[in-house]
Symmetry: C2
Subunit: 139 residues, 2 copies
DNA sequence: AAATTAAACGCAACTAAGTTGCATTTAATT
DNA sequence: AATTAAATGCAACTTAGTTGCGTTTAATTT
């Protein structure tokens, strides 16, 4: 199991190894698609307060452990970062696919985004390609 | 002025020409960047109920007159569609730039998205490229 | 021009997402 | 064992967006 990797992640990011945060990372690692706040809550065995969950999500995102994928339906999903992201270089050079039927969010590693730095006077720090449609399970 | 174009838009989409909806479209046409609900409310002279505003935004989006750009900060922006979108083919083949300083959202026509139809079993109906960073005014 | 009707509107009440302040607990350090 | 700062829990709050329902009004029909 990747429990060791989780502990390593928490250590290098100076996040305390609490039961809940370890379990939260396990949930993310064992899910192939993005999770909304509600999804996360359902998958956590300990009945944590929503504030605690939000705070963990926020710090994980800030540290580059997970990333947030916004959705036109106003319910963002969180997913674990596939490779090494850090607080400084939080680049997700892959697309996200959102199924409009089952509402699941998948990372699509097959599509590589061109890393643009500048376009017509805009300084680009991050880019995010979101695809919408039907996922393999819903076609 | 493009008042005539607005009336035409409403007519072809079978939306009644009320004072408010005409004004709302004028606001969108005269703004070069995306508007949040709050932005819209501030720019409307008549003091419309928020439900009325939301319903107009929803129907305009459904008809392909405006499109919604989600943001990681959970405040979506709405912007008028540059070309001919329709209820069926609501494709926005351009990127959106969100300034992390002033929070403005701009359509970036310079970047053309490759129109992907299928990737690894996913059926893609819509795609959305969002760029984040500093806009020309904030650099 | 009057009657009809369905879209648009306004209000109240609600849900759901996410935040803030503060007191308490606990992991990690000294 | 004592310290301390991170993490937690609770209450209360804000903000975005929705639903139901009765009323108004733009557009159509007679």
């Amino acid at each position: 199991m990747n429990k060791e990797y989780i502990l390593e992640l928490l250590l290098t990011n100076k996040i305390r190894k609490t039961q809940f945060r370890i379990e939260l990372l396990e949930v993310f690692m064992n899910t192939k698609y993005g999770l909304s706040f509600k999804d996360v809550k359902e998958r956590i065995s300990s009945t944590q307060d929503k504030v605690t969950i939000y705070r963990a999500l926020t710090i994980f995102e800030k540290k580059g452990i997970i990333h947030k994928v916004p959705n036109t339906n106003d319910v963002s999903k969180y997913a674990i970062c596939p490779e090494a992201c850090s607080e400084k270089a939080h680049q997700h050079n892959h697309a996200h696919f959102i199924c409009t039927q089952c509402e699941k969010t998948f990372c699509v590693d097959e599509i590589e985004l061109p890393i643009l730095k500048k376009v017509k006077g805009y300084k680009i720090k991050r880019s995010n390609l979101t695809l919408e449609g039907d996922c393999p399970d819903c076609i």
